[in-house]
Symmetry: C2
Subunit: 193 residues, 2 copies
């Protein structure tokens, strides 16, 4: 394979990038932006070697403990459980949560061999057992696997006497009822307040 073919093959490892997009990216970088190619190469190598997981919450961090976990002004009584660092970043951008996070290593998926062990349930139970924690908010996805994960973790937490709640299900802000799917409407009715 030539260097160009190897580059196209490598770019196909990016999520959502197939043969056509990879070709377009490779041709664009080589023809118009070689500095960009070098910048991306450098940033990838740096991130792959420098970014690790926070010892406390398991999100991405360059330090042993991430910025949020190091921030003592946050509310230690609340612990929010998410599936991925990306989910944590989305919650943090909403600006509506002041507690701490715990990032799972994915979600339960028995078919893919993702057990409660593999997603870090043991570490979560240890973290949630710290005296300061009053409530664990399960913010896994509202998919079948995310719901199953929340269910299993919720049972385990409650068995240890720890209060576990789930994010509210309902109609998204800004949407017209006519276009909302029926499952969401049914849940919004059941969970009405």
């Amino acid at each position: 394979m030539t260097a160009l073919e190897q580059l196209i093959e490598a770019l196909k490892r990016l999520p959502g990038v197939g043969q056509k997009s990879a070709q377009r990216m490779a041709y664009h970088l080589l023809q118009h932006d070689r500095d960009g190619a070098r910048a991306i190469a450098q940033a990838l190598a740096a991130a792959a070697s420098q970014v690790r997981l926070c010892e406390r919450c398991h999100t991405f961090s360059e330090a042993p403990v991430c910025e949020i976990c190091s921030d003592t002004r946050r509310d230690a009584s609340l612990l929010c459980v998410v599936e991925t660092p990306a989910d944590q970043a989305a919650l943090e951008r909403s600006g509506s949560f002041q507690g701490y996070y715990f990032v799972l290593q994915g979600r339960l998926s028995p078919l893919d061999g993702q057990s409660t062990q593999a997603i870090g349930a043991q570490q979560l139970l240890a973290r949630a057992a710290e005296p300061a924690v009053q409530e664990v908010i399960l913010a896994t996805s509202f998919t079948a696997e995310g719901e199953a994960t929340a269910h299993v973790l919720g049972e385990a937490l409650r068995a240890r006497g720890i209060k576990a709640t789930r994010l509210a299900r309902g109609v998204p802000v800004g949407s017209e009822l006519e276009y909302v799917d029926l499952g969401t409407i049914a849940h919004a009715l059941v969970d009405r307040r």
Copy 2:
């Protein structure tokens, strides 16, 4: 900026990749495919330093002269002019052209300061003047700029007594007339044979 933020910024230099896609790519690579991150970094760096332009046709090549230009079995009487290495690769995949290529450095775009000099017209005229060349096929894009480029280059070639032709315009293979745009139908009528 953290290494993660720098990676997201760098990935946004890829064509068609905005903030959201860049985030998704960065999170995916760091969480599931660090080997992929390193492989892409390595392939980018290698391609940026090893891939240069063929001295003869100006397509991407690792050798001073590309494989096609080095292939003496091709038809030296035909020279096909394209805008980019990607266009050349598409023509080559069609398997319907056995001559040699000349890759322009883009297309005429006076507003962006792309003059005939900048796209390599001088080198094209020198290459087309070689005794073996009987016909130059102008295969620039069928956009306003591509058409203008073909027109200017065609005039210059004919002024030097070199035969210059253009790819046929018409109805794409596999399309139903009902859904073909009117400009294409008009051209297909004029160019009927």
